[in-house]
């Protein structure tokens, strides 16, 4: 059955109430009953929940074959927790495990082995990269992987589509009853936003920390009220890979040109006024937009009310300069962001539900004015792909892309027209991860295209000197330079389902032929 972004979704996937994508606001204002976990109540005095080892915790929760375990990705490429826990589960002989994590990184190649040997049979994630992406793309996972946005993951948890049996939550600091924080310790990641839903919805919650602190560890991102056990290990991550050095602006003139154009697009739109809200991705051109916004804010004597999202140095800089009232933070990319969320009382941690879930009564993304996002590909319907590479292999992450695009008044995608020998602007993206109806403006190094649905923005931009083109013109330029791309050698079998944030099926990813 074809969905609203013109993708053919196999009927055999449309079971258990699963529907095809029918537009971003198909489920707006609909009512549903949340699910809830099965929890062990503690009525008596308790001195400690600390267990000696991860194995003890796996035993204590009554682990069984076929269970679903969850993890967060605040430790990014520095994470040790996923591998540590999965190694123990596998060594204890458990099988048919599903991993439902907020994201996986290249530090999790070990999981590819467990997929290959059949121990891990299910994977639900936002990011998928490295050997895991290859294993899934080559059909090694027993069931189709389910790929979701950050908000979509919380929705799936809140609506019961993923039921977490055991959440293993790595925490930079924790106390003996499980009050846990992203702040402090040896593996400081700033916030624990992604783990909030896991703690609230998993039947069993195990905190894994390398820094046990005095009770009570306040303020806590994860409350003792949701924690069954605490395990103290030597190291939960590699600090250097958890928070990188301060993010710096790209020096690539092409990136800077696009960033400047993004800022000028914003300047020309009606939402560019005192108190606007703003989010930008962490990529080169997106991040550099901050640099060009600063003089504009000063020129007009305005400031932002709030900055949202994964945070790095440029956002903190705007806050510190008084050009933004506050930051609402779901992830920290660099040490500057980590320091700021520790020390600046105007820099607030929020949960991923608060950030981006479409299944609550309004996330922060629903109140965004502007978001600047990257793309691996964008097509002439403005559909964006951020999950499959030019070879058709899974190596990306929708993350907050579909959530912010859906919620913001003005979503600007910025990308060079060509990367290597690939047309970024194309006829049809390999995989739709963000529907084109949510993308308002495309900024490339060869010109700027406005989604025809946004005639209001087109009229506003026509009053500027910005180089406007149609998206078809941009695609034609791209194809004239690198040629029309050949179709990728996909087989029939669906290896991953790309869910829209409301749980409908936006696209599927099929098995790719091994490179010959």
């Amino acid at each position: 059955m074809k969905n609203a972004v013109n993708r053919e979704i196999p009927d055999e996937l449309l079971v258990d109430g699963r529907e095809v994508f029918q537009g971003s606001n198909y489920k707006d204002n609909t009512r549903y009953t949340k699910v809830a976990p099965s929890v062990k109540m503690r009525t008596a005095h308790i001195d400690s929940k600390v267990l000696p080892t991860i194995r003890d915790a796996i035993k204590a929760v009554g682990f069984k074959d076929g269970m679903t375990v969850s993890f967060h990705h605040h430790f990014r490429n520095g994470d040790y927790v996923v591998n540590m826990v999965m190694k123990e589960i596998v060594e204890m002989g458990f099988k048919d495990i599903t991993i439902a994590c907020s994201s996986l990184s290249s530090s999790h190649d070990l999981i590819a082995d467990y997929i290959e040997d059949g121990t891990v049979i299910g994977l639900q994630t936002s990011g998928i990269r490295g050997k895991v992406g290859e294993a899934v793309s080559h059909g090694k996972l027993k069931t189709p992987a389910i790929l979701r946005s950050h908000g979509g993951r919380v929705r799936a948890i809140e609506q019961g589509e993923v039921h977490i049996d055991v959440a293993f939550i790595g925490a930079p600091t924790a106390d003996c009853l499980g009050n846990s924080s992203g702040k402090g310790g040896k593996s400081d990641c700033g916030v624990l936003a992604y783990a909030d839903a896991d703690a609230r919805y998993a039947d069993n919650v195990v905190i894994i920390t390398d820094t046990l602190v005095d009770y009570p560890n306040m303020p806590a991102s994860i409350s003792q009220t949701d924690v069954d056990y605490v395990v103290v290990v030597d190291e939960i991550g590699n600090p250097k890979k958890i928070a990188s050095e301060a993010a710096r602006f790209s020096k690539d003139p092409r990136d800077l040109l696009m960033a400047e154009h993004c800022a000028k697009v914003m300047e020309a739109t009606p939402y560019f006024k005192d108190g606007f809200s703003f989010q930008t991705g962490a990529g080169g051109p997106s991040l550099a937009v901050n640099r060009f916004l600063e003089p504009l804010l000063i020129k007009y004597g305005i400031k932002m009310s709030w900055i949202c999202g994964g945070i790095s140095a440029p956002s903190v800089d705007l806050l510190n300069k008084g050009l933004a009232e506050c930051i609402v933070d779901t992830q920290d990319f660099d040490t500057v962001a980590v320091d700021s969320v520790h020390n600046n009382p105007k820099h607030f941690e929020i949960s991923t539900s608060e950030y981006a879930s479409p299944s609550n009564r309004s996330a922060f993304v629903n109140k965004l004015d502007y978001v600047i996002l990257a793309a691996l590909e964008i097509d002439t319907d403005f559909n964006v792909n951020v999950i499959t590479g030019s070879d058709g292999v899974l190596r990306g992450a929708p993350g907050g892309h579909p959530d912010t695009a859906a919620g913001a008044k003005c979503c600007i995608v910025v990308t060079p027209l060509i990367r290597g020998r690939m047309a970024t602007v194309c006829e049809n993206v390999v995989t739709v991860t963000t529907p084109g109806e949510c993308v308002d403006v495309l900024v490339t190094d060869y010109g700027i295209a406005v989604n025809p649905k946004r005639q209001d923005l087109l009229e506003a931009l026509q009053k500027t000197k910005l180089p406007l083109k149609t998206v078809e013109e941009l695609k034609d330029i791209a194809y004239s330079i690198v040629g029309t791309p050949d179709p990728l050698p996909f087989k029939e079998r669906v290896v991953a389902i790309m869910e829209a944030r409301d749980g409908t099926v936006l696209d599927v990813v099929r098995e790719i032929d091994a490179i010959k």
Copy 2:
């Protein structure tokens, strides 16, 4: 059927899985599945949830006859919200309403009218006083009122025994999407701990504020993710009655003697060491214990790790003097507490679930070392009554009493032996609100009794010069002074069920004959 505190519970109440009380830890470590609300999901951009009037909000949530509405009691005797909302509901012609509030005060006499005329048919609360207490005690409410501790209320919500159709949450400050805080505004109450469960578990959540602030109102005690509508009114409360002037210590020599003895009891017990945790009630002798603790802390060179509970000036004073590491706060009784939770980074708001619920994986009360509590009556089994007056009429509140008593290592009840012409220490309390098994020591102005279950504490206190007596001796002294009390003129009909914190039936309150 008789329960574990020897009370006869009518069989007709033991339906729908309701059981008699079988000991405080009967349900410890048992597993249950939480309930969850039915919520309206918002996937699209949204600018505001503000509606012009309370009536508009009642219409917008689709209000119907027979619904259950909830309120919090952070505005104490200064609350305007309960009456404002109920008046509107009644004027709109709705009937068969159940009120499920965290507590009611004497400012809610209007509700007695709605009980008398049959508009309000159910009442679930912790505190019940004034005309409402009289109306219920005289059999005017159609169904038995259900009385719970603060933790028991959260449990009942989490286990689905009370399902809130609409939570009306008064908030000193809120923004246009519903991020709400107990801090700031015209009716500053410091924290919104009691409303947390309502926001998370009600099908519809309406914020009522008199101070709309810029978005985002961070940090928020109630998140926009749980809020459907926001209504701005002129005044949500009387500030002078919300937070009183700084609580001062009693000057009554009898109170001071008892308070000194409480502190000396603590000093003699094994938990009196660096890092102990502490909670005290807001009554005269309880509060005065702080005064006698201070020199002891200094003498031994120790300090408390954390102070819990409803907070007033004496706790803030200990924090400010460095004699406590932090405060975890569920309610603010005076302006000093309100100021402190605003300004002191070591003074933290916690939810009532975190404070006291027996249905999560451990509340703060479960980690308490000491709690000092008052009593209207205490009997020779150490059972405490804090709900019915000497005339058998409802005029009290279990509050956190049963929760802290159950969780603390050492629960000390302090009360004068006699009040007016009534024996406080008696053969059988009128109503059991805290089971005697949770009470360890009784301090009166005529001597100190240790619960025989705590031989360890008895031995420790026998090494001191404190005036030890048995509880029977204390009761005999009381009766020798004021005589043996006459039985109260109760009728058969049950007008209120006193639930233990785990939801079992601890006692019932029967209709009282009108005074002749």
